[in-house]
Structures are given as C-alpha cells and as structure tokens.
C-alpha cells in the first residue's frame, strides 16, 4: 500500500457523528481506489469510547490524540495537535466534514501546512488519469466545479454532510491504534470558550433552520396540527406553515413561509398538506423536499425530491413512531458500542 487517506473525526455525546461516518465511507472508497491506507484521527480529552465505533467502518489505523485541552474544539488546540502529526504522515488527502468545526479548521490547516484546499466537496475520487478529482457545488449549487491535482500535491478537503449518506457498518476488525499526547498549553490558545447554548427549534428563526416541517390547509384543524408538531419534535425540526395555515390560526405570523413571510433554505423541508402555491414555493430553496398530499397533481408534488400520495393524518403519526423507535435503538446501540 502506498500513501494514506486521513479523516479527522468529530464526535458528540452520542459518539461519532454521522457526518464523520460519511467522510470515513468516502475516504474508504478513495483509499481502495488508490490502494492506500485509511487512517482516522480522533481528538479529545479521552476518546477510548469511540474507538470501537470507528473500527466498525473498515479503518486501517486509528490515531488517538488525547489532551485535556482538546475536550472542546478550539482552533489553536486542534491545529497544534494535528500539524506535526500530518506533516510527518504526509497523507494524500485529509478529509473533514463541512461542519462549523471542519469549515474553521480545514482552511487554517491547509494554510499552515501549505497544502491545497477544496472545501464543501460532494465527491472525492481518483480520476482515470491517476490524479485526485474533487467535485464541489458552487454559485449556490447552480454549477459543479471539478478540481484535479496530482496525488503528491497533498490536499485538505471538506465533505458536505448528507452528500452521500452513511455507509453500512462492516464487520468489526482490529485496526492499528496509535496514541499521541501532543504538547499543548493553555498559553498557546488565543481563544477561550466562555459559554455554549443549545438551539431550541421552537424559537429558532425559520431562516436559520436546517430542517423544517410545514403544514398547510390540508392539515384541516388546530387539533390536527399536533401531528406536524410531533414530527418536528422527533426530528428536532422547526415548524412552519403556509399563508392559509396562518389565516386559519395554526401558526403565528413569524412562522409563515413564502414570499410574503420568511424565505427559507433548509437541508430538509417536509411539507404536509401543502399544495405549493407559487407565492409559497418561491420562498423555498431546500436541498431535499418531502411532500405528503392527497392530491397527486398538487404543484409541490412535482417539485419534491420525494412525493408521497396519502393522508398526512395516517402517515405522519406512523413516521413519528418509526423515527422514535429508531432513535431509541440507535442510542442503545451507541451506548453498547461505547461500553
């Protein structure tokens, strides 16, 4: 095997984040194409609990980089911890997720190491000419740019979360584990986290929401609106509605979506009982639209990524329950994985 492909992992209280698992899946495919090793870096105060989870994704080497100052992400701490490690390893590609952490760290890392940078990729692969090919959306997703560079060029890239989906876990294998204890001191850190507050979907502005569940006149009644609220709760989504939903008193004025209300750009927009009038849909620029409607000819059904013909009052409670069960199982298995 020649060279290596590295993934810098992100974790939360439940373990490795899905965006990291996506990056590992993409890096695995690339490593297979290039006949290279896949190496994953786990940074934190203590990362033993997520080593097992990472090992399920066909990783060759896991780097455990541990230090109390790595407990929370700060640019200087992560940069100093990774710099020497990467300079020594000299991998073909370092892949991060295009999250607030990845977007902060990747360009600084590239600049520090004097390596190339391609942020926000949706596809990283080996080209037929033997070069690395990276594809990223640009101009508000109106075009795709294709970048190419020789393998010896060294690139730092970020992968857009949700670009490819999470790969299925493989049979657990025992990767090589290397421990690192970087020399960090609090004097090196020029930024300090003073406060962290969790966002509340109920108060989050629509313009900032990443997942929105909306209803329209098809919901039928205020009591019926509870199915929308429940789906939103279980998905951690923000609730919105159409002008008719506002007129019928289902939502307050600041939750109206459309040209006359809020223009939205979420990753996921679930619209139930929304026909998709032009003044509504003109204010929606979502990457994924799921529409549930009894009328298969409703305008929104044609614009959806997934259009479901059916009664929202029958489908949404079942969906809520399905997601709830899945999340409970997932939490249980992640607890099992970390045990």
């Amino acid at each position: 095997l020649e060279g290596s492909v590295w993934v810098v992992a992100e974790q939360d209280e439940l373990g490795l984040r899905d965006c990291t698992l996506e990056a590992i899946g993409e890096a695995r495919s690339l490593a297979n194409e290039l006949r290279a090793l896949l190496e994953v870096v786990l940074l934190g105060a203590e990362v033993g609990s997520i080593v097992k989870a990472a090992a399920r994704y066909d990783v060759d080497v896991i780097h455990r980089v541990e230090h109390p100052l790595l407990a929370r992400y700060t640019t200087d701490a992560y940069l100093n911890a990774l710099r020497e490690l990467l300079r020594e390893a000299n991998p073909i590609l370092v892949l991060l997720s295009a999250t607030p952490i990845g977007k902060d760290l990747a360009p600084r890392l590239a600049a520090r190491l004097c390596w190339g940078l391609v942020p926000g990729c949706i596809w990283v692969t080996a080209g037929s000419d033997g070069n690395l090919r990276l594809i990223r959306p640009s101009r508000q997703n109106m075009v795709h740019e294709v970048y190419s560079c020789p393998l010896q060029a060294r690139i730092v890239a970020t992968l857009l979360p949700g670009a490819i989906g999470v790969d299925q876990p493989k049979k657990p294998r025992i990767p090589e584990i290397r421990r690192h204890h970087p020399e960090l001191s609090s004097d090196q850190l020029r930024t300090k986290i003073l406060d962290y507050t969790r966002g509340d979907p109920r108060t989050l502005p629509l313009s900032e929401a990443e997942i929105i569940v909306a209803g329209g006149r098809g919901v039928g009644s205020r009591e019926g609106w509870q199915v929308i609220d429940r789906v939103a709760d279980v998905l951690g989504a923000v609730v919105g509605g159409t002008r008719l939903a506002l007129d019928l008193g289902y939502i307050p004025p600041n939750r109206m979506i459309g040209l006359a209300g809020e223009s939205i750009r979420p990753h996921l927009y679930i619209a139930a009982g929304v026909s998709g009038a032009i003044h509504h849909i003109s204010g929606v620029r979502a990457e994924n639209i799921v529409a549930v409607n009894l009328d298969r000819l409703a305008p929104l059904m044609r614009q959806s990524t997934l259009a479901i013909v059916g009664d929202l009052h029958a489908i949404l409670p079942l969906l809520t329950e399905r997601i709830r069960v899945y999340k409970t199982e997932k939490d249980a298995s992640s607890m099992e994985g970390t045990a």
Binding site: C19, P100, P107, R108, A110, A111, W115, G116, L117, P119, G120, I122, W123, S138, R139, Q140, N141, M142, V143, H144, E145, V146, Y147, A153, I164, G165, D167, Q168, P169, K170, K171, R190, T191, I193, L194, D195, Y196, T197, R198, D200, P201, T203, L204, A209, E210, I211, L235, L268, V290, V292, T305, L306, I308, V309, G310, I315, L318, R322, I323, Y326
Partner: protein
C-alpha cells in the same frame, strides 16, 4: 487609543440571474455583457459590525477590497455607509489567484495600517469557500474566529464573539487582539444606503494601490471543469455476508448509498411512513 478595524469586502456576481445552457451543457448567464455585481451579503454583515464598533466604541474603520476597476463600486458603498477610509488593491480582471496568493496581497496591504481587528465575510455568495478569514489569519499569524454573528469589546482588551453553530446552537468565545473575525451573512440587519449617498462619494476618497502577485500558488490544484449539477451515479453494492440479518435487510431496503430524485410514491400509510423514514435515514436526517 482607539481600535483600528479593517473590513475586507468583495464584489460578487449576482447569481440569481436568468441563465441558459450552452452547447456543452454548462450553465451560463444569459446576458454576459451586462452582469450585475453586488456587495457580498456576508461582507455587508461584516461592514455593519465594523460600523457598530465605530459608533459604539469609537473605532476607526477602513474598507479594503481586491479586484479589477469595477470593484471600487463596493468601496463607495462602504464609504457611504460610514467607513473612514477605503483602499482598493487593483488587479487585472482575468486574475486567477488562489486564496493563498490573495491573502498574501491583502496581508501586505494591511502591514502599514497595523489594524487591531480584521473583519470579513464568512461565506461568499459565489464560490462559498469560507477560506479567506482563516488564510488571512494564518498569513498574519493572528487568531481567527469564524461564523461570528456578534462582537463586543472587553474591558481588558480582547473581544467577545458569539458564534453561530449548527441547529441554532451558539458559542461565546473570548479572543485576543489582533484577530481576524469572519462574519455570518445576515448576522446584522443592513442599514439602507441611498443611491444618492453612494453617488456623492468622490472617487478620490478611495486609495488605489496596484496589486501584483509574484508568489506561486499554494498547490498544483487546478479547476478543470465547471458543469451543470449532476447527481452521483447509483452505486450498486451488495451487503457483506458477515453482516447481521437485520443489517443486510436494512441495507437492501435502502439500496446502499443511493440518491433517487423526484420519486412519487403511493401505497398504504405504513409503506409511506417507511418510505419517508428510509429517505431520511439515507440522507442522514435521523
């Protein structure tokens, strides 16, 4: 001593213009002879934050841009909005410099000004690289804060920055000065600047400095193609034999890593709920 703030702004092509496809299926703007340029939305937020510091903390604010002659239009907007000075680093229209080269030029342009704080947009409307702030911070050897939405000066000399994270989460950071802070789009409500105020700004108020880059690019990375968006092709993959039965079934049902666009589904409520669930799972929303 008052704070010196430099706000770096960029003129971007207004993307929401009528477009058509050329012979090679590349999206092109219908009227290339009359493109519409605008001040980038995240740079407007950075400008508003700088003006806030001027009005509330007595900071002196300078706007800086790098671009061809047409880019001075954004500096006139900045001056009309209230910046004290404006510098235009003039480069040819067809320049193809990477972020490393651009930030090298800007860092040299900042040398004489010795600012305490550099503000810039976090993610531009056109290429959305989010790299300018971190690259410039590295060039200057300063700390960086990205995705800022508010900024306050501290008594003891640093700044307090509120960062916008995912799903409405917020983080408050204390940061030493000097620093580079990149600001989220729409973080600050922009104040209206009338056309007449912009027109009244004499061009002489803009300090024009020719910029020439002799530094090599950071890497051998080349953009080889710009094309219409295309979904990734279906990856046909079989579940591994060593997976548990439930995992194999789940893998087959989700079709592996597949993107299907424009699906219409009709079935029983259970099937419909399952279909939506698989869709959400496949795309990482649950």
């Amino acid at each position: 001593m008052s704070l010196t703030v430099v706000v770096c702004v960029k003129q971007v092509l207004f993307a929401a213009l009528p477009r058509s496809r050329d012979d090679e299926e590349l999206l092109v703007f219908k009227d290339e002879s009359r493109p519409v340029y605008a001040l980038d939305p995240s740079d407007i937020s950075a400008l508003e934050l700088a003006i806030y510091l001027k009005e509330n903390a007595g900071a002196s604010v300078m706007a800086l841009t790098l671009g061809p002659d047409r880019a001075q239009e954004v500096l006139r907007i900045c001056l009309a909005r209230g910046t004290d000075a404006a510098t235009h680093l003039i480069c040819p229209e067809e320049m193809q410099w990477d972020h490393w080269q651009l930030t090298g030029l800007v860092a040299r342009g900042l040398d004489q000004r010795r600012p305490d704080l550099v503000l810039c947009g976090d993610e531009s409307l056109d290429d959305a690289w989010s790299a300018f702030g971190p690259f410039l911070a590295e060039r200057l050897g300063w700390p960086q804060v990205t995705r800022a939405e508010n900024l306050e000066l501290q008594q003891e000399g640093g700044i307090l920055v509120r960062r916008r994270l995912e799903r409405g989460d917020r983080e408050v950071l204390a940061c030493q000065l000097p620093a580079v802070v990149s600001v989220c789009p729409f973080a600050k409500e922009p104040q209206y600047v009338s056309v007449s105020r912009v027109m009244m700004i004499p061009p002489q108020r803009i300090d024009r400095v020719p910029a020439n880059c002799e530094e090599p690019p950071l890497s051998q990375l080349r953009r080889i193609e710009v094309r219409a968006p295309r979904s990734r092709p279906r990856r046909v993959s079989m579940p591994a034999a060593n997976l548990r039965a439930a995992e194999r079934i789940s893998f087959l049902m989700s079709g592996g890593r597949v993107r299907k666009d424009g699906d219409l589904f009709e079935g029983t409520p259970h099937q419909a709920a399952e279909k939506i669930f698989e869709f959400l799972k496949e795309r990482g929303f649950v």
